[in-house]
């Protein structure tokens, strides 16, 4: 109807476009087509509709509304149908349900939205109107009156002339405000030294009290001890955990600290750090798996370069050289776990890490 009633959508007197020239400026406004509207009316006039085309528009809108009706029925039907055999169960039915329900829902919302939009644009006769913007600030008289009332109230309450009252009120309020903070104290235990050691300490102590050399390295997930014969191919990497960690009271949190990577570095390339000459077994070396940056598992090992890479922020450590940082945001080497081999040929750790594992924190220094 916009063509006939000069409605807001269609720009008027469109000139012919000459091929190869930029579009004539009349056909596009710089900001909005909507605003290229007819003269404003403060009272809000109505557009005239041409009845034949209005009827057509009405039928189109009605079709979309009916589509929504059908789609909503289909949604309910799909729900009932998918659950017919007592629930949906499993990935295939879940996918099927997702397609059927989702498609019906989409059609139902979009058809209704399109219908209403056509209704607004083709059938609503309300014309744009002009409305005054009111001053936001209050009149000066009101401001003055408020100021007077405020001072009068303060005076009447006596708070201005009774300092004892005022000061004790402030004093009373201060601890009252702190009280809720105290209530939060039991959110968690204090860190104490918990971040400074890992489960390796307990495991080694338990093993050594039984007269063994140290705590065995168990392969993560299978929990089987690892012997030198099982781990003799150079370039191999595996995640190990201390024995007994499975049955510790807070196994998840212990794992989050004690996870260790065992790497078989070719012995001729391996450069043991000073004082750590006996911490490895023929190039087999154990480093903390917890990245010293923000604690992601540094789980990627590149055999050719002997680099350990943390996939979160790409801190890169050199496995041949005490896992020192060679790239990325991590500041410190991965802590090294001293390991050796026990009488039966299994890898064991002889002590805990000598420094805190994982991300830096204030008290670690």
């Amino acid at each position: 109807m916009t063509e006939t009633n000069g409605g807001p959508e269609e720009p008027q007197n469109t000139p012919k476009r000459v091929i190869g020239t930029p579009p004539p400026a009349e056909t596009h406004t710089l900001l909005s087509e909507q605003d290229q509207a007819p003269a404003p009316a403060t009272e809000g006039g109505l557009y005239e509709l041409e009845e034949r085309s209005a009827k057509r528009a009405e039928r189109v809108v009605a079709t979309f509304f009916l589509l929504t009706f059908v789609a909503s029925i289909a949604f309910i039907a799909a729900y009932v149908f998918v659950g017919r055999d007592g629930g949906m169960h499993g990935i295939y039915r879940a996918r099927e349900a997702n397609y059927l329900l989702g498609a019906a829902m989409t059609v139902s919302f979009l058809a209704l939205a399109i219908g209403v939009t056509i209704w607004v644009r083709r059938l609503m006769t309300a014309a744009p109107i002009l409305q005054e913007r009111h001053e936001l600030e209050s009149p000066q008289a009101d401001r003055d009156q408020f100021a007077a009332d405020f001072l009068e109230g303060a005076e009447a309450s006596g708070i201005t002339k009774r300092p004892l009252l005022r000061r004790t009120l402030l004093l009373a309020a201060a601890p009252l405000g702190l009280a809720p903070l105290v209530l939060l104290r039991d959110l968690g235990p204090l860190p104490e030294k918990k971040l400074r050691h890992t489960y390796w300490q307990e495991a080694v102590a338990a093993a050594q009290s039984k007269g063994k050399k140290g705590a065995r390295l168990l392969v993560a997930d299978t929990n089987r001890p690892l012997s030198t014969a099982d781990f003799d191919s150079p370039g191999a990497m595996i995640t190990v955990v201390p024995e007994g960690i499975e049955s510790s009271p807070d196994a998840m949190s212990e794992l989050a600290k004690a996870s260790t990577i065992l790497i078989n570095v070719p012995v001729d390339l391996f450069k043991p750090l000073q004082g750590r000459e006996n911490w490895h077994v023929g190039g087999v070396v154990a480093y903390s798996k917890i990245c010293t940056h923000v604690g992601c598992p540094a789980a990627l090992y590149e055999q050719t370069t002997h680099h350990i890479l943390c996939p979160c922020h790409q801190s890169t450590f050199d496995a041949t050289d005490g896992a020192k940082v060679i790239f990325g945001p991590a500041a410190r080497s991965l802590p090294q776990l001293p390991i050796t081999v026990d009488e039966e040929g299994y890898f064991v750790a002889t002590s805990d890490y000598h420094e805190p594992v994982g991300p830096s924190f204030w008290e670690r220094g």
């Binding site: 020239t21 629930g87 989702g102 989409t106 209704l112 744009p128 109107i129 204090l190 923000v294």
Partner: protein
């Protein structure tokens, strides 16, 4: 429409009932035809509002089955690939919602897509408000509320993302914990209090759940309400087009037009989110597996809105220092706090800084065109470039992989890019704005190129210029003349109080920086008429051959 209008019984009854008790009809009378100016960009905020409503609806649905518990269970559900796997109850119940609750997967995916759309729409809306100067007096309060909403939306998203306790979200949680731990003095205490002990402990999911479904949405809802009420009270800003002035707003009445339009818009938003949720898989947690503190996958990425923090963590050099035996991990603190702090603080202060620099204390209801405030637009684009660079840096492993570039090269590129790219963006944007101003100025002075070419008797071809249409002139002349430099001294040579001292000098310098290259756009402004038309001839003949 006058005194005799009679409402149908079904409407009359409730209206009278409420009015007798609240006197509400005066309010309704005043607001039923409230004018809403039209512009496509005004709908960005609506998308955010409607995504939030979708989030509330689908979120409520999900709470009916979700179990926010980290208690370990062995899975024996209908997803056979994870049969017998140890997992938390949170993860198990998410699997159940996905595979055993009809429509559960759809609701989960709608919830996740709506969350992404919510943050994206907030960003787009904020950029619209910034670039058109809609945050200016009297709307600074709504600008601040908006910034608060955006920050809360990020936190809300992060918490919600962590709830399913899958391997991917666990990596995000691990990083969150590591960042908290790095805070000087209180870091490890904060972490122990948040997680109820060591990471990951057994409390954090339940705590995040309470924050995610109650506290933060409650605050968001309250702020959204305040945002809407202030907007309603102050009336919407309008674009600088015909009929729109600082004194009056022009557009369609709330009832029936805007009401129907916005209703349809809600349905569009819901429909599109439903479409995405149906056909575009998101967060398939059953493929990631349950969280395991020693497991990780290459290519782990957070949701898009957290990407910039991820990027800043990645490109930071590995600085760490010791202070009296205490570790200060600058390699974590700086990237976690500085970029977000810079952007949010800058955005919050910007209305005041701009008012101080330009000395403009007036109320603005008609927006600026971005080109007409080149310095603001350029600062905004620099911020966008800063954010965008960090965001890309958050995907540097993907970039390195897809384009076969060395991973370290991408890191180095972003390490320099984070400083250079915003500066380049600032300069380019400013030049583009000024160029557009010049083009407006030329169009006002000489009209637009009509495409009609005539040959003069001398054989020269020229293109006829036609005066710009009235509507376009209104838009173009909406540019305000840049105000002259603030008076440094009065007539007697006494320095003005505002220009004294280092702050005064700074202000004068900034004012100059802000406005010195503004180009006047006026009707019939044709001081360089000859040169301009001569140029256009040349261009034309050059093209013609």
């Amino acid at each position: 429409m006058s005194t005799a209008a009679e409402l149908p019984k079904a409407v009359e009854g409730p209206v009278k009932f409420i009015d007798d008790r609240l006197g509400s009809t005066t309010f309704f009378k005043r607001n039923i035809k409230k004018v809403f100016p039209d512009h496509w960009s005004f709908m960005l905020g609506e998308i955010a509002l409607y995504s939030f409503i979708i989030l509330l609806l689908t979120g409520t649905f999900l709470t009916l089955w979700f179990k926010p518990s980290m208690t370990e269970v062995i899975y024996h559900g209908s997803y056979h690939k994870l049969d017998g796997v140890k997992m938390s109850q949170a993860y198990e119940s998410t699997l159940n919602i996905t595979f055993d609750v009809r429509g559960g997967l759809l609701m989960r995916q709608i919830h996740h897509w709506a969350a992404i759309l919510f943050v994206a729409a907030l960003m787009a809306h904020m950029l619209r408000v910034f670039f058109t100067g809609a945050y200016r007096k009297p709307r600074e309060l709504n600008w601040l509320i908006g910034l608060g909403l955006f920050t809360l939306a990020l936190v809300e998203g992060l918490f919600g993302y962590s709830l399913p306790d899958d391997a991917l979200s666990g990596a995000g949680l691990r990083i969150t914990a590591g960042v908290i731990e790095s805070i000087p003095l209180v870091g490890s205490y904060l972490m122990f209090f948040l997680f109820g002990g060591q990471y990951p402990g057994d409390a954090v999911i339940a705590r995040f759940y309470a924050l995610h479904i109650l506290l933060i949405p409650g605050i968001i809802l309250a702020l959204v309400t305040a945002h809407m009420m202030i907007m309603w009270h102050q009336k919407h800003t309008s674009m600088p087009v015909r009929n729109q002035t600082n004194k009056a707003v022009y557009g369609y009445p709330f009832y029936p037009v805007f009401m129907a339009k916005t209703g349809a818009y809600f349905l569009f938003t819901f429909g599109v989110v439903a479409l995405l949720a149906t056909f575009a898989q998101i967060n398939p947690i059953w493929l990631f597996g349950p969280y395991d503190p020693s497991g990780i996958s290459a290519g782990s990425q957070p949701d898009f809105y957290m990407g910039f923090l991820e990027g800043s963590l990645r490109i930071m050099p590995n600085w760490e220092t010791d202070l009296w035996g205490h570790t200060i991990p600058l390699n974590v603190l700086i990237p976690a706090l500085v970029p977000l702090g810079l952007v949010m603080t800058g955005a919050a202060l910007f209305p005041w800084v701009e008012r101080w620099v330009t000395g403009d204390q007036r109320q603005h209801h008609v927006n600026d065109r971005p080109r007409n405030a080149p310095t603001r637009t350029a600062i905004g684009m620099a911020a966008v470039a800063f954010y965008g660079t960090l965001w890309l840096a958050g995907a540097n492993d993907i970039i390195a992989d897809r384009f076969d570039i060395s991973l370290y090269a991408t890191t180095w590129f972003f390490r320099f890019g984070i400083f250079l790219i915003p500066i380049i963006a600032f300069i380019i944007t400013k030049r583009v704005c000024l160029g557009l101003q010049r083009s407006d100025s030329a169009t006002m002075a000489h009209g637009y190129e009509s495409g009609t070419i005539v040959m003069t008797p001398e054989g020269e071809f020229i293109e006829i210029h036609k005066p710009a249409p009235e509507d376009q002139k209104i838009v173009m002349t909406s540019k305000e003349e840049a105000k002259p430099a603030l008076a440094a001294a009065d007539d007697n040579g006494v320095p003005a109080p505002t220009s004294r001292g280092p702050l005064g000098h700074l202000r004068a310098k900034l004012h100059k920086f802000w406005t010195f290259d503004s180009i006047p756009v006026e009707e019939g402004h044709g001081h360089d008429h000859e040169i301009e038309s001569g140029e256009s001839h040349k261009e034309l003949t050059g093209k013609g051959h």
